[in-house]
């Protein structure tokens, strides 16, 4: 377990900046999730830490020692990719044991057996240990490739959207599992995703990336409740943040260009009148789609609401977010 530090790291591919002046400290034992859309620089950051890419400038250190000049193998990182890569001719057991049998680790065979069955148990692939890797479903293969990282005890685990190819149920289960594995091991995780639910539920810290820049770093609650910009605020929240002209409900703070409203920022049955355009029943929650002065708003309401399309409803903001013309948060 180790602290990993990036200082003023830049990386460009053919003049195209992928990572811009990135400074980030991943505390030892933390679960850091980098969140951002495609092209934000998430995967490049992982590859820089693992040594698969070299920064154009800046420094990367693990436990206080710069690792720029040592090979990926020597950096002692374990990486899980979005696309599982297993040895097809080996059984699941041998695939899991492989990293431990590496001459670098020299693990005793009894220890290997113990580790492999422990990890297989957690990932619920114990019954498949003697199968060929190719005889598995996609979800099982991905679990094996996560397992192959977990059998080791590296300084940091680097994970690149490892759950995105799994179905929804399994993904939800593995979110809880990965989180508890990380907490129990006290391991350091750097996890990349564009899935906000993964970020919110697993992270001790979320780093939000925008075009290669780290725009905010903090706990999920900080990022959700106290976003520094419209961009960050729009990354999190289901249903998504409603963005309207700042003065739509009357006076707004000076310099405010837009107001951002999450469902919990909207009080119903008082204030400005709006119309229901659609009632979306998702089972555990019901979403109201509203039209207010020509603007679309989505909020939540009582699951069994009697409201229907065309019904009037009045709403007003409660502790909303305000942003200036550049998208910076001002209140």
């Amino acid at each position: 377990m180790a602290e990993v530090k990036l200082q003023n790291v830049n990386k460009a591919f053919d003049q195209q900046s992928a990572v811009v002046d990135l400074s980030l400290t991943i505390p030892s034992g933390s679960f850091v999730v980098l969140l951002g859309p495609t092209g934000a620089g998430k995967t490049t950051t992982l590859r820089l830490i693992s040594g698969l890419e070299r920064p154009d400038n800046g420094d990367i250190s693990i436990d206080g020692n710069s690792v720029l000049d040592i090979t990926p193998a020597e950096r002692d990182v374990a990486m899980v990719f979005q696309q599982y890569s297993l040895y097809p001719h080996m059984t699941v057991r041998d695939n899991l044991a492989f990293p431990l049998r590496s001459p670098l680790h020299k693990t005793p065979e009894a220890e290997i057996t113990r580790k492999v069955s422990e990890v297989a148990e957690v990932l619920r692939i114990s019954h498949k240990l003697d199968n060929k890797a190719t005889a598995l479903s996609g979800g099982e293969m991905q679990r094996v490739s996560i397992g192959r990282a977990l059998v080791r005890n590296p300084s940091i685990y680097l994970m690149d959207e490892p759950l995105s190819s799994l179905d929804a149920k399994l993904r939800a289960d593995l979110r809880v599992e990965l989180k508890s594995i990380q907490a129990n091991l006290g391991a350091t995780f750097l996890y990349v995703t564009h899935d906000q639910i993964e970020a919110m539920t697993m992270a001790t810290h979320i780093g939000v990336l925008d075009h290669g820049r780290l725009v905010q770093f903090g706990s999920p609650r900080e990022i959700y409740e106290n976003p520094v910009s419209l961009y960050v605020a729009s990354r999190l929240g289901i249903p998504r943040l409603n963005v309207l002209p700042a003065d739509i409900f009357g006076r707004a703070p000076k310099g405010a260009k837009s107001i951002g409203l999450r469902p919990e920022h909207i009080v119903q049955n008082s204030g400005k009148s709006a119309w229901v355009t659609r009632v979306e029943r998702l089972g555990d929650q019901t979403r109201l789609h509203l039209k207010l002065d020509g603007h679309d708003i989505i909020t939540l309401t009582d699951v069994h609401t009697r409201l229907g399309p065309g019904d009037p409803i009045s709403i007003q903001p409660h502790n909303p977010l305000y942003f200036d013309a550049a998208g910076a948060r001002i209140a």
Binding site: M200, P220, Y224, G283
Partner: protein
């Protein structure tokens, strides 16, 4: 515009039965979802409605006409696939015009029709672009446009949003539903994503192993699941099952789990044996005192709400609470179940027992 009725529809591939004996009705103008895990028979059902597969037995009528054994070309249905199939050498306009030109429609009329559809889909600015350079979303819009442009009786869609990433899928699903609300064309839509089904559908059919488990309005299916499969498949996290052995009689309003008496909707049928007490996460409240206890194992912060995982004598239970509520890992708390929402299941068959809550839905399900 079309009403589609399916009666005792069955499909066998050799010795494998893909669809057992499906019956349901799709009303004119409905957005109808076929939902289930892979291999449940939903795509086969869709393909039979479209005429891409012929049923082994059973009947499909479209607007009163039996089309079961007719080829696709005689059914006037448009199909949208997951992988948008566009003609790569043609521009957007030509792709959209093609179905009309091949029907022999006069050029002026084709132009008018294409620009109308482009307007509906918001792709007017793309009309003269080659399809090669389009983003995934725009390609999907063009594929949709090509289905819409001929104004078929009904649309068949096979996971049209499956290939898109989460954020964009959300956006496209809203767009698709809004489009449907404007056009009101009967749409049959296949998905394995329960949220997508809930979000977009007027009605849902839930399938498993070729059998229809339940058919109804999304909220009814969610609140009053007919089987344990449905209760688990719909909702995230899914319904909690507290398993116990016991008996219930007609007219009772509570059951005994361990030593706790928990209220349930008034039962309409007697049962004795292995039961599951089914309760949704949002119908569990954490209390200081409550006699039914659980230990907090984990919390997952979701912004507006949080999911709290608890360990109880009847297994793991997940509760949904407001994000502001305090739950500390390791603490033992009381659980208060909202009895009115509970469904009891026979765990042997997975069937829901009839009660005051679900009798209306199960009767015609």
């Amino acid at each position: 515009m079309a009403e589609i009725i399916i009666r005792n529809l069955r499909k066998e591939f050799g010795s494998f039965t893909a669809v057992q004996s499906s019956s349901f009705k799709i009303e004119d103008g409905e957005f109808f979802m076929l939902l289930g895990p892979s291999g449940c028979g939903k795509t086969t059902t869709l393909r039979m409605i479209a005429g891409l597969e012929l049923p082994s037995s059973g009947e499909i009528t479209i607007d009163g006409e039996d089309v079961s054994q007719k080829p696709a070309s005689q059914r006037d249905i448009a199909f949208v696939f997951q992988m948008f199939a566009l003609y790569p050498h043609m521009n957007v306009r030509k792709n959209l015009s093609y179905p009309l030109v091949s029907q022999g429609m006069p050029t002026a009329q084709v132009r008018a029709k294409v620009s109308e559809v482009a307007n509906i889909l918001g792709i007017e600015s793309l009309l003269d672009k080659p399809v090669g350079g389009l983003s995934g979303g725009d390609r999907q819009r063009v594929a949709l446009g090509r289905a819409i442009v001929r104004q078929p009786k009904a649309f068949m869609m096979d996971e049209p949003l499956g290939a898109l990433d989460a954020e964009f899928r959300e956006h496209m699903s809203l767009e698709l539903r809004a489009l449907h609300d404007r056009m009101k064309a009967t749409t049959v839509y296949v998905t394995h994503d329960q949220l997508e089904a809930m979000q977009m559908g007027d009605k849902i059919v839930v399938m498993n192993h070729g059998v229809i488990e339940q058919f109804g309005k999304p909220q009814d299916v969610y609140d009053k699941p007919a089987t344990m499969f449905v209760a688990e498949f719909i909702g995230s996290p899914s319904m909690n099952f507290l398993r116990f052995d016991g008996s219930v009689g007609t007219g009772v309003k509570s059951v005994t789990l361990g030593h706790q008496e928990l209220s349930v909707p008034m039962m309409r049928e007697p049962f004795e044996g292995s039961l599951a007490f089914g309760v949704r996460p949002e119908h569990i409240k954490l209390t200081d005192k409550g006699p039914y206890r659980g230990e907090v194992k984990a919390t997952e912060y979701l912004g507006t709400t949080q999911i709290i995982t608890l360990k109880t004598t009847h297994g793991i239970v997940k509760a949904r609470a407001a994000a502001g509520e305090v739950a500390r890992v390791g603490e033992t708390v009381g659980l208060d179940f909202n009895g009115k929402t509970v469904t009891l299941f026979d765990t042997q068959t997975g069937r829901a027992l009839r009660s005051e809550l679900n009798e209306g839905v199960l009767a015609h399900g």
